[in-house]
Symmetry: C2
Subunit: 352 residues, 2 copies
């Protein structure tokens, strides 16, 4: 491991088991049948353990959107042209994208990081330009990233977690934008889970059946090309990943090192979360899962993480949009947990 990656090996924090127990006990005293708030109870208790206090909150939310292009787009694996990545970065900056609207509604901080797009976006207000390259190399023909690109992308994620910590974030969301990035995610998922491209390549932004077949073939070709080097998660990430996937991986590891709960989004985000856990198993404790995406491979990823997401709305947009949507539920879960009366306070009788 090169010197500039040593931060990845720093220990992650441990959840606070005292706070977890206190929150669990509190749930049992609230004026409702035990368990009757379902997942809202479990998520409040989990957040209490991560925030180290009996009454958790999800008011201060930090959202980072990482954008980057993918050389593999030249294989015709996306329903949209590559120019859309840069165009969407501009759309984020102007407030017109789904995640812009959601962040505004939630009063969340939204940071946009352009790691490297094939088309120049120019300077944009509120967009951090990292210029790691005009997208990755086509991983069906070569390694997607150089060592220094990988290190810089991971570091950009770490920087974002540092920024989140500075703002006092109670919750971190990482989102992404990058035409063809479900192809990179599928390739990584195949490498990490030992599954076939047919199981993990899906329609993404809207491929037809022939397109999905082509995508699976491209992934199969890439897996054959890099086969000897996929046993180590960082090297798999460098060869098959993308700038934004590496940044998300770095961000999730850094959040776990700093004790910031992470709300994982959909397919791409979950692949990054799995990479983060493979690199640093302690990351697993810091991950909450927002939703089950419509991308078919996502369910396999979630099973591999033993994740039971809050929502299943058939969303498949990325940008952190599923996670942002789940914030609304998380906030209500916290309000119920924190503000409901106990049986004793209300003078209500418990179970017979």
């Amino acid at each position: 491991m090169t010197a500039n990656l040593h931060w990845l090996t720093q220990a992650t924090k441990a959840p606070n088991e005292t706070a977890r127990s206190a929150a669990q006990a509190r749930q049992g005293q609230l004026t409702k049948p035990p368990g009757s708030l379902g997942k809202l109870e479990a998520i409040a208790i989990q957040l209490a353990a991560l925030q180290g206090c009996e009454k958790p909150r999800a008011e201060k939310v930090f959202i980072s959107i990482f954008a980057g292009d993918h050389g593999v787009a030249e294989e015709g694996v996306s329903a949209f042209p590559q120019a859309v990545t840069a165009e969407m970065v501009k759309n984020f900056a102007r407030g017109g994208a789904a995640i812009s609207v959601l962040a505004k509604q939630l009063g969340a901080t939204l940071q946009v990081v352009n790691l490297g797009t094939a088309f120049d976006t120019g300077e944009l207000p509120g967009v951090l330009q990292c210029n790691l390259g005009k997208g990755t190399a086509n991983f069906a023909r070569a390694a997607a990233m150089t060592q220094s690109q990988l290190a810089a992308a991971l570091q950009a994620g770490c920087d974002s977690a540092v920024q989140a910590q500075k703002t006092g974030a109670q919750l971190y969301i990482g989102g992404e934008m990058g035409i063809a990035n479900t192809t990179a995610a599928a390739a990584l998922a195949c490498a990490l889970l030992q599954k076939s491209p047919q199981q993990l390549a899906g329609p993404g932004t809207g491929l037809d059946q022939a397109g999905v077949q082509r995508k699976a073939e491209v992934v199969a070709r890439a897996l054959a090309l890099h086969a000897a080097h996929l046993g180590e998660p960082l090297e798999a990430l460098r060869r098959l990943g993308g700038f934004e996937i590496a940044a998300l991986t770095g961000a999730f590891i850094s959040c776990a090192q700093r004790g910031i709960p992470v709300l994982a989004d959909g397919y791409i985000s979950t692949v990054a979360a799995l990479l983060a856990v493979r690199i640093q198993p302690g990351v697993a404790s810091w991950l909450l899962f927002a939703h089950r995406s419509a991308e078919p491979g996502h369910i396999l990823m979630l099973e591999a993480m033993q994740a039971e997401p809050l929502l299943n709305l058939g969303m498949r947009l990325g940008e952190g949009s599923g996670a942002a949507t789940a914030v609304a539920i998380l906030r209500l879960a916290c309000a119920l947990h924190n503000d409901m009366a106990t049986f004793a306070e209300a003078g209500v009788q418990g179970k017979i």
Copy 2:
């Protein structure tokens, strides 16, 4: 039909198909792959049709909680004592219940209607006292309600819809509280869907297996007793229902007559919704479904209504709590629908 029930036969409004088409067209122009917001797209379009405008809103939400006791509680079909109904009405009034917390978080109007509890609550601020009786009769031995109790309960629901309309509500939620009301709901569901008590009696607030079995036996006994009179939905409601179930039924019919969209909650609420549809088929268009409850019979009810609810969080509390939770999602769906940029506005290219 007696004179005081004639209002039930008034026509329901029709959704606005022009607004639906406009909303549908708008969704196709927003800067995202078509369909990538999943159910958030569908619900925004549905709400647009119901509100008769291209850009729907769910800001002004009116929540009515109807409370009433059930004579069938004496058969030992609930995990909680009957006194809890009145105690929870007090808890609603003091702001300590789940729905109180949710309504406050959402800035929703919360109206509490005590139709008739076995234990006296006394006058309470913000609680409308209807005094229809000290709960219903035990429907395993007699009809639950008299004709005049049924009419008064339906009318209380109608009055609530009138009140919602006066406040300019963009969305109506009906909740309920009543120890043993899942037993009444199960009996009604059996009558309406021609299913067996074993399929529709569940643990409710927390019965063990023996308790569920006893509940199914009580329902079976009631169905046998009233068998000759269950073909007509209003009479089934009078014999097997409860004050709060009748009020919800009346409220849903009245909302559909006034053109107020209804967000249905869990098991009890869905039984009332099905009754409303059987009495007035036009009600179906005005129903949105919030969540799939953990009560096993709810899934059969939802299938009968061809409903695909937004959430599946394992909630089983009632009080309208699942519907209130879904409001947060509905609001984000509206914000995305209303505020995202179109491809043209953002200069983003569409599908290849």
